[in-house]
Subunit: 204 residues, 2 copies
């Protein structure tokens, strides 16, 4: 579909302007790692718009996404020092959420995930960010640590112009149903299939 | 597939270390815009590794990818000023390639595309970058402006540890065949289908 052209004009009573500024719920799901990568690429555009960005990483990983984190922390510093772009906050579950400042809670993943969601809910209701990246948030939903119905209700009712991107495999059907945009990344061929090892700069 | 595990160990005579450091040719194709977005997300990791990054945008667009460009120019400045991360060069075809410094060549797209490819080839042979993002490069290939066989031959024979990411729809079969990793982004649902307009910070 050509850029800027729409397949049909919906009978939703919205003006073009209102429709253009409609906050989006985006889900990146599918089998491949491109899910998070594409979400962070989108966050680059949000940064350039001067938006406040909140990244919340669920699911502990040995390597996290240290490349992206370092780059966005550098962009946050650029914002602080020069006013260019927007502020970026980066929080991860498995080392203790940044706002709690307590380490060692990662043993109880379910509780940590719930704490993360509770804080995200508070921020959404207070409209603290313009873009939320809920990275690998599908897993605590899938594992029953966080209630899907509550998440969908909070996201559907979120005030203002807050965009939310959720990444991870096996997005729950209720979340997919609520989303404005669902992107699925499909593997065609991957070097690990023929014995390639993951490598710095590419995989993390 | 779990991270770091390989489905089979190939009989390619390489050590694990050699295999881990094998330079990759990556193709992001498919119907959705996530292609470029994911390539720029990958470039964030490359930046964090201190790699020299060269971005080459083919195909003129009214909005280019100004968000990504601004963010990477900021990251390049961070590198220059603090030594953190790596250098980033960003070149676009439709406003005259940066290294030619001549404007107004965009009327002859085929010539401009050939000039771009010639410079990329020169840099690859001189090993000037560690990561090349050839954004929307599939189009000049598809339109016959740049010779697919030559591109594949140059990419296959590239020296050192240079990674190359090519994005765009309809990647030529010979390029897909040569690639180590092919990612295809599939649309599940897109708001423009129901009349959503593209918007700043999300679409560009």
């Amino acid at each position: 579909m050509p850029k800027g052209q729409v397949a049909e004009v919906p009978e939703d009573g919205l003006t073009t302007r209102a429709r253009r500024n409609r906050p989006l719920l985006i889900v990146h799901t599918g089998e491949m790692k491109g899910k998070s990568t594409a979400a962070f690429g989108l966050a680059l555009r949000a940064w350039n718009q001067g938006w406040s960005i909140g990244v919340f990483q669920f699911v502990k990983s040995a390597k996290w996404k240290v490349g992206e984190e370092t780059a966005f922390r550098a962009l946050d510093r650029v914002h602080t020092e020069t006013g260019e772009g927007g502020p970026v906050q980066w929080h991860k579950m498995g080392e203790g959420w940044s706002w709690t400042r307590k380490k060692g809670t990662e043993d109880d993943h379910a509780t940590a995930a719930q704490e993360g969601w509770r804080e995200i809910r508070r921020r959404i209701e207070a409209q603290e960010h313009r873009l939320y990246v809920l990275d690998e948030f599908t897993y605590p939903l899938k594992w029953g640590w966080v209630d899907v119905e509550e998440v969908v209700a909070v996201l559907r009712a979120r005030p203002g112009a807050q965009h939310v991107v959720v990444t991870g495999r096996d997005a729950p059907p209720a979340l997919v149903e609520a989303a404005d945009l669902v992107l699925e990344t499909t593997k065609v061929r991957h070097p690990m299939d023929v014995g390639q090892k993951g490598q710095r700069g590419i995989e993390w």
